[in-house]
């Protein structure tokens, strides 16, 4: 499922809404999550999962082709942990 398929599906479930409003709603939600992560905040959606950012320290990496060592700067990466309910749903409802 892509973002546009998700928008179409939400539109089908809400025939009273304009397509462009559905588009704005979906975009707003992901923008809001991205903005929170950019602030370093956590986004916790019970039953679905939690988004957070994790710090990765600077390290010495290697160019796999040449074997040269290159320094990799410290960075922050987005991280997602699946919620309990969704995890159970993926496995057919069993715990």
């Amino acid at each position: 499922m892509t973002k546009s398929e998700l928008i179409m599906r939400i539109g089908e479930l809400n025939p009273h809404l304009f397509h462009r409003d559905v588009e704005r709603i979906v975009t707003t939600i992901f923008d809001e999550i991205s903005a929170a992560l950019a602030r370093g905040d956590r986004v916790e959606l019970r039953g679905f999962g939690a988004f957070s950012v994790k710090q990765r320290d600077a390290r010495l990496g290697r160019n796999p082709r040449t074997g040269d060592s290159v320094s990799v700067a410290s960075k922050v990466i987005p991280f997602f942990k699946t919620g309990k309910q969704l995890r159970e749903r993926l496995n057919g409802g069993e715990v």
Binding site: T28, L37, F48, F80
Partner: protein, 102 residues
């Protein structure tokens, strides 16, 4: 980093501010969207949200684990796990904002 937690309430509020539906309807829409994504994932589909990231379902085989407290061996059943890969747009956004202060 002064970390706060964003929940459904803030997402609904953002939808309310942005689109001008009632607060109730905004909250319902947030829920519906999370539900549709969960449904697709339960069917084993990949969910790709451009400029945000993708959610994949990965099948894990059975393996032998250990109860860390008792040291007892226990089989871990084959199962499906969810993996999220952030898009480059999101990675860059998060890094540009947080990276400088790190």
């Amino acid at each position: 980093m002064n970390e706060r937690t964003v929940t459904r309430a803030q997402l609904s509020e953002a939808v309310y501010q942005e689109v001008g539906l009632s607060r109730n309807e905004s909250a319902d829409l947030v829920e519906t969207i999370l539900n549709e994504i969960s449904d697709a994932l339960s069917r084993g589909e990949t969910v790709k949200i451009s400029s945000f990231g993708s959610f994949f379902v990965r099948q894990k085989g059975e393996r032998i684990g250990r109860n860390p407290k008792t040291g007892e061996e226990v089989p871990i059943r084959p199962r499906r796990v969810l993996v999220f890969r952030a898009s480059h747009v999101l990675k860059n956004r998060v890094n540009d904002a947080n990276g400088a202060s790190a």
